[in-house]
Point group: C2
Chain length 124, copies 2
């Protein structure tokens, strides 16, 4: 990840409402949550929520898809993983063999994420 994009992503998360939205979407999984429900449950007027979602989307942290009249937002796990990787990257330069696996794990944080692999909901 590039520095500028990392700053944009961190700025997007550095706001109480947006951070709450993002974590809610992370927890919600691939199905996502409608913009209206996010606004309602977080006590924010729709236009403000829309502005926040726009910021998160511009940072690549969320994606949206229209379902009838609602617009569902989902967390972009890949982007989140890249951001985490960027933060721990080259951690403790002296002992990379310790941090390398961590970075890989973080990179694999695309759990139940992209459409390429299944959510693994059957194990529960």
């Amino acid at each position: 990840m590039e520095t500028k994009l990392a700053v944009v992503a961190l700025s997007a998360l550095a706001q109480e409402t947006r951070l709450a939205v993002f974590r809610r979407l992370v927890q919600a999984g691939p199905e996502g949550v409608a913009a209206g429900e996010l606004a309602r449950t977080l006590g924010v007027v729709p236009n403000t929520m829309s502005a926040h979602l726009n910021v998160l989307g511009h940072a690549g942290l969320v994606r949206s898809r229209r379902v009838s009249r609602s617009i569902f937002y989902t967390a972009n796990y890949d982007q989140m993983s890249e951001l985490l990787s960027y933060l721990v990257q080259d951690c403790c330069n002296g002992s990379p063999e310790v941090c390398a696996p961590l970075a890989m794990l973080v990179r694999d944080a695309a759990c139940c994420a992209s459409d390429q692999h299944q959510p693994l909901t059957e194990t529960a």
Copy 2:
């Protein structure tokens, strides 16, 4: 980690100079880097750098210690781990068995960090 603190930490990292400083300190390891050297190498005047370091310190992301006339700053790996944990926490609520180990790994990101355990440099 509490929401407010997470926002403060993310805000601290959501700025180009501060993000560069933090990553440099993450890479530098336990020894840290002097404030003056950070200012010089990143092309920032000392007082501005001091302000940035103050923000990072207030967020708990860095610690400082005086060595003669210089003040050395080090990354607080524990706080970083907590922040990463906070972001991936409860990821994909449907399949926690996938994300739980990830969260634990991130929590253990205190590699070569605190004075409690060794850097494990012998594996190389």
